[in-house]
Every structure is written in structure tokens, then in C-alpha cells.
């Protein structure tokens, strides 16, 4: 149920972020439903596939989408999915997303275009540096709960300082993983700066729609995790309606923050992003230290 909810509203959140950005820049901008229109348009378009490609190129979007959906299935939204703890735990989410990324990176190399290779190389580079930071913040949050079981971590409990620090670290990871501005830029198609967009350059039609949908879902996964870290369950006290309300407000706040950040800072050079991720690693480590100290 909630997974479906995530899948359905995922493009909307991207639309909201774009709207916020445009409004901050004093522009009118596209409507918040634009991502849906894009998806529908792509869905109806003819597909062009490079003649150099193999079946890897064909299956990669499906694997990418499946991994994003599985990650969404594990992610707690306003209640934890009751079967999620049966499938896996918090750590699994990182590995599942890596599965989709692995195939997308391969598919990017498949067409033989230098842009694809560039994007694939950079994406693997950034994500391999983002993952340690992510695991540290996941560890810190899990240490506070005493388990990596998602149902328990996001159950009702008091918010701890270390969780907050870990949450900030995870925000930085999320910015890198969802290709947002200081690290990557979703809007650009300038050859030398794009990362994620370079990987999907050869795709068109329905396959491109699946890839876009999976990046919307991936973004929702990260946002939901962050919202749930910052807002320990209000559900238990206020009931499900209150929970849903809090969740939506939380997502909105994060979208606004991300939009604001995107407008106010410039994109970093690729090797400056290393420092950015190193900072998030240090934040994660700080969260662990604080958590071990008991706060």
C-alpha cells in the first residue's frame, strides 16, 4: 500500500522541488505535475536504441526500477511495512540501490559513447565514496535502537542527538545519490558536468521513463528515511492521520530545503565533491561517537 503511495507521489515531489526552485528564482516555472506529463510523454514515444548495445542495455532500466521499488518496499513511510523486516534490514537498502546502479553503469558503457563512460565512471566514483558515509549514519541510528531491524528503528522512541547528526549526514548522502546540485545537476545537459544524466543519454521512450521513475522513487526512499529519522513516530501518539500529516509536512520541508540549497549554491567540481562526501563521512563518525557516549 505505502509502497504504491511512494511510487505514485514520487514524481510529484520532484515537481514540487522544481516549483520551489523556480519560485525562488522569481520565475513562474512549470506546474508541479510536470514530471507526470514527462513520464506520459516518454511512455508514448518511439524508442531508439543504439546498434552497439547488448541485452544489458535492454534490461538495465527494469533492474534499476525493480531495485528502487524493493528499496521503497523496505522503507518505512508513515508506518513500517509489516513484511519489510522479513525481507531485510536497514543495511539491505544500500546494497539494493547498488544493484540498480551497477546495471545502469554497465548500460551506460554499453552504447560505446564517451559520455556514457564518463557518467558511469563518475557515478561509481561518487557512490562508492557516499556509501561509507551512509553506513556510518545507518549504524548510528541503528545503535540507538539496538538493532538494524527497520520496524524497531522507526518505532516510537525519543529522538537522540546522535540520530540528528546522523540524519544530517544522510541528507548529504541523499544529495549526492539523487544527483542534486552541489554534487551533480539534474537540469544540465552540458557534457562535461553531467553525471547521472550522462549515463542515461542513450535512452529514450519507455526505458527512459522507467529510469526517471526509478530515480524519483530513489529520491523518495532517501527523503522518507530522513523524515523518519528526524521525526520519531508521531503515529503512536497521534494516530495514523497525524502520522500521515507529519510525514507529508516532513517531505515538504526537505523538498524546500533541497530546493533552497540548489538555488543558493553552485555545483562543485567533481573532485571537490570528495570533500563534500568526506564531510558527511566525518558527520557520520561523529554520530557514532556521540551515540557510543550515550547521547
Amino acid at each position: 500500500m505505502e509502497t504504491l503511495f511512494i511510487i505514485i507521489i514520487a514524481p510529484l515531489v520532484s515537481g514540487i522541488i522544481a516549483k520551489i526552485k523556480n519560485n525562488l528564482r522569481m520565475r513562474k516555472g512549470q506546474g508541479i505535475f510536470q514530471p507526470y506529463h514527462n513520464l506520459i510523454k516518454l511512455f508514448c514515444k518511439e524508442e531508439v536504441i543504439s546498434e552497439n548495445t547488448s541485452w544489458i542495455f535492454g534490461v538495465a532500466p527494469f533492474i534499476s526500477l525493480a531495485s528502487a521499488i524493493l528499496a521503497a518496499l523496505l522503507t518505512p513511510v508513515f508506518t513500517t511495512n509489516p513484511c519489510a523486516p522479513q525481507i531485510g534490514d536497514f543495511i539491505l537498502i544500500i546494497f539494493i540501490l547498488a544493484l540498480g546502479r551497477f546495471f545502469m553503469a554497465l548500460a551506460a558503457l554499453d552504447a560505446g559513447s564517451p559520455f556514457g563512460g564518463m557518467g558511469s565512471s563518475r557515478e561509481m566514483f561518487l557512490s562508492s565514496l557516499a556509501e561509507p558515509a551512509a553506513i556510518l549514519s545507518i549504524f548510528a541510528v541503528s545503535l540507538n535502537a539496538g538493532t538494524t531491524n527497520l520496524g524497531v528503528i522507526f518505532g516510537p522512541h525519543v529522538i537522540k542527538l546522535s540520530s540528528v547528526v546522523a540524519g544530517f549526514s544522510l541528507v548529504m548522502v541523499a544529495i549526492a545519490e539523487t544527483s542534486r546540485i552541489p554534487v551533480d545537476n539534474q537540469e544540465t545537459h552540458l557534457e562535461l558536468t553531467m553525471i547521472h544524466e550522462a549515463m542515461t543519454l542513450e535512452y529514450s521512450g519507455r526505458r527512459l521513463a522507467f529510469i526517471e521513475l526509478s530515480s524519483h522513487i530513489k529520491q523518495m526512499v532517501f527523503f522518507s528515511l530522513i523524515v523518519n529519522i528526524f521525526m520519531p513516530r508521531i503515529v503512536s501518539e497521534g494516530g495514523i492521520v497525524c502520522g500521515i500529516f507529519a510525514y507529508i509536512i516532513g517531505i515538504f520541508i526537505i523538498s524546500a530545503a533541497v530546493g533552497f540549497l540548489e538555488v543558493s549554491v553552485a555545483k562543485m567540481r567533481l573532485f571537490r565533491a570528495v570533500d563534500f562526501l568526506a564531510f558527511s563521512f566525518v558527520l557520520g563518525l561523529a554520530a557514532i561517537v556521540i551515540s557510543v557516549m550515550g547521547a
Partner: protein, 610 residues
Amino acid sequence: MENFFNTSLSFLFDPLSILFLSVIFAVCLPSAVYSIGYLNKRYSKGKIIYNWFLLSIFAASMALVVSVRNAFMFLIAWEAMSLASYFLVIFDSKEERSVNAGMIYLIMTHVGTAFITAGFLIMYKYANSFDFLALKDACVLMPSGAKDAAFLFLLAGFGVKSGIVPLHVWLPYAHPQAPSHISGIMSGVMIKTGIYGIIRFIIFILGVDSVWWGVLVLVLACVSCLVGVIYALMEHDIKKLLAYHSVENIGIILLGTGCSMVFLKLNMPGLAVFSLIAGLYHLINHAVFKCLLFLCAGGVYSATGTKDIEKLGGLIKKMPVTAFSFLIGAMAISALPPLNGFVSEWLTLQAFFVASLTGYMAGLKIFFSLCAATLVLTGGLACACFVKAFGMIFLAMPRSEKIEGAREASFSMKTAMLFLVALVFALGLGAGIIFKLLEVVAYSAAGINSGAVNISLRNLAAMPGAVNSVSLSTPLIAVILVAVIAGVYFGFRPRQARKYNTWDCGYYKLEPRNEYTATGFSKPFRVAFNFFLMPYKKTEKLRKSFYYVKSFKYETFTTPVFKKYIYYPLIEGILRAAKFMRRLQPGSIHVYISYIFVTMLLLIIFMNKF
């Protein structure tokens, strides 16, 4: 003294030995089948018989190493294994590189054996016997100084064989030079005998004496992981790349083992058993997928005649089975769910998590978290490395004409590869069963009564300190993934697609020369890790005149840190010492007679005194 001669060939078939025997069997069998197709037509008949002869000695000696119950016999089997593998490394003895690699291997492995012998002699001094169980009993009473010494000797000795950084230098030379099925066995199981030695002699017989033992192993393991994978990223020779990944994976196995050592000392048997299971699980997994990858690499090599991935490309269309097998192997080694490498890395991470939850002191807890971060970083880099390897070898356009004549591997080679692919799936999806079996092994290896602690994959609740159970179900993950992929594919199957050129910015038609190269792919990593790799470049301009550069050559290199700062100075020192010692040999018979006289005199004094 009597034990040197009275050693009988007796065996110890405890669960640990049986585990290793089955791993050896599971890897040697497909490799042998593979060698039928691999050697055929490439080598003369005599060479092929020679291969079978050496291969059987190699396999038998490995089986002996893990099953004898006597340290003296262990050393004999160990030597036999080293020598058999040496002759296999120089199998292509016409190539100078093979001989050099063999030499490095021979020297390193004997240095290792010397360390092991020293460790055994220390234990022998207290036990007066070479029997494992007698040694185990004696080790309880050993003073801790002697224990520490024995530990360091054994760790160094077995570390050479398993390729722990900085003792790994032989590995990237020796493994790639051997024929591919031998590389598979060497990387798959031979280096694991070093791990067997560590578990058997350090954990089982010697018994962990202080916490720093485990911490030392963990630090070495983290360093091995990172160094192995970073070098692998820089490497463009496919077999060398895989060899460096062996260094990395030995590190991951040792992460589990080292964690278990810490907990044995801290008297937390449940955690110790759990982390040992994680280590052993990765050991089996690595044996299977690394052998698989080497066999695929061998297939590529025999089809194209090159191991340089910069010259390959587009092979997925010509060798679909090899490509599929390599893809599965690459996914497994990159720890992608739901395959086997993921399960063992998840278990190791869980071990670290519970370790940082219940660790003894704050420093140790933070240390464990950092180990986990190292493991994840390693996983991410390995993932990148295999995207590079698979992409460059199998995808896009062929990068040289060597691909033209490439044909799919022969039947026996395909059979061997697909068998290992099936094992990868079985070990990933049957994680629950494997875990149960490994539990038995880990209990007996750690010397804990089974049932003392209750753990299982579905129920980690009994883990000391953990509040709630955590579970992981690889079959469920697989089912969901397959269901979603199939559902989306058949539900919204894309309409007929048009085939067209890759987008070339409206320029000329793209050529293979425009493709991204492996060097380009690894450039960000080279820049980010430049403090360790210390890259440098050479440019060479061929000029016709000052203004007209005819051709331009550009090469990048990385500094081999360990060779430059550890091994070369060491070798230089040894040579210098040898030069100095040469003065002892003036060539005059009188001097030699006086040496004999002095030696006799000293010996008589020595015998009288002690």
C-alpha cells in the same frame, strides 16, 4: 626428538577440515573439467599429461594440508602444495615473465614456511609433540610472551600464503602467470589454506590470548581490503585485476575472523561464533566466484589472445555464455543482492554492528564501526572495478582487431563455468541452510560447546545485547526482484524499438577510438587516492621540427608503494650483507680449515655449557 621420526600420517576430520575439503573439491572439480577444453590444442600432449600430473599432486597436497592432525606432516604437505603450485606457475616456462613470477613466488612462500616453522617450534617446545590436540593442551599452559611470539610468527607465515598486505607482493605476479584453471584454484582455495592455518593454529590450537591480536588482524584486514581494491582499480590486465581482488577478499574474510578473535578474548562466545561464520561464509563464496571469474578470464584470453582489457570490448555478442558467467561472478564479488557475496558481507556488517553495540569499551566500538565503513567502501570500489572490467571486456564496440576471431568457449569450459554459476546462486539463495552448516563448523573451530549460545540467521535475538531480531531473506529478495522485473517488462513491454547509431554529437560516425577507456574510467579514483598511488606521467614528443610534433606519447603510472619502500630496500640490504659476507671466502684452504676448527671448538663449548 622421537616425534620427528615417529610421526604417523593420521588425520583429523573435524567440521573445519571437512568444510575446507569440500571447498577444495568444489573448486578443483570444475577447474579440472575446464582444463580439458582450455589446454586442448594450445599445448602439446606431453604438456597436458604434465598438467594432469601436477594438478593431482596440487589438489592432493591441499587436501592433506587441511586434514592432517600433525604439525610436522602439515609442514610436509604445505611444502608439497607450494612446490606443486610453483611448477604450475611456471607452466608456460618459455615466457620469461612466468619464470620471474615463479621465482618471486618461490622465495616468498619459503619465507612464509620459515615463519610457520618457527611458530611450530615455539609450540613444540612446550608440548613435546606435534600432534594438534597435544599442542592445544600444551598451549593453555604457555606463558603469554611465548604465545605472542608464536602468534606473530604464525600470522606472518600464513599471511604470506594468503596474501595479506604487505606480504601480498607475490600474488599479482604468480596468479596471473599460471594457466587460468590453476589461477582459479590458487586464488580460490590455495590462498585459503593460509586462512585455514590462522583459524586452526591461532584460534583453535593457540587460543586467543589478548585483544590486540584480534585488533591487529582487523587492522591488517582493513588495509588489505583497501589496498587490494585500489590496486585492482588501477590494473588493466584482467588476471592481475582478479589477483588484486583476491587480496581484497582475503581482507574481508579476515575481518570476520579478526572480529571473532576479539570476541573470543572478551568472552562473548555468541558473537565470536557469529563473526567466524561470516568469515567462513565469505571464504566459501570467494572460492566459488573467484574461481568462476578466473575461468571466464581464461576463456576470454584463449579466445582473443590478450589479457589487456583496453584491447577488448564487445565480446558479449560473441561469447554470450562466458559473458553471462562473468556478469554473475562480478555481481557476486561486488556484493549485490541476492547473490552469495552479498550474504557474507551482510553477515560481516551485522557482526560489526552488534560488535559496536556491545563492544567492550568505547574505543573498540568506534573501531568496529570504522571497520564496517571500510568494508562498505571496499564494496563500493569493487563494484566500480567490476563495472570497469565487465564494461571494457564485454560491452560496446571492439577496441582492437583481436576480437574479430573470438569464439565462444568450448563445451567443457562452459560446463565448468555454468556449474560455478549455479553454485553462486545456490550459496546466495540457500543462505539459511549454509548458515546452519557453518554454525557447526564455527562452534568446533572456536572451541565452544554447541548450544552454548543460540543463534540463527532468522533470529539474532539471542545475540548478547541485541534487542530485536533481524532477518534477511535472499529468496524473498530474489522473488520480489524477479516479479517486479517480469511484471514491468511484460506489462509495459516497450514497443518495437528503432536501431540507430549511438549519439555522436552530429559528428562523424563513432569509432572504437572514441570509446571511454579503462584508464579514463579509473581516473577519478586515481586522483582521489593520489596520496597512496602517487601517480606520475611520462610524455614523449616525436618532432619533425620545433613547430611540428609528429606524434605524442602519453603514459600514466602509479608508484608501487610497497615494492618501492619495503621490498627494494630489503633486497638491497640483503645483497649488501651478502657482499659483506663474501669476505669470509678468501679461497685459501687454510682459512677454511681454521673455520672448521673454530666451529668445532665453539660447538664443544656449547654442548658442555648447555
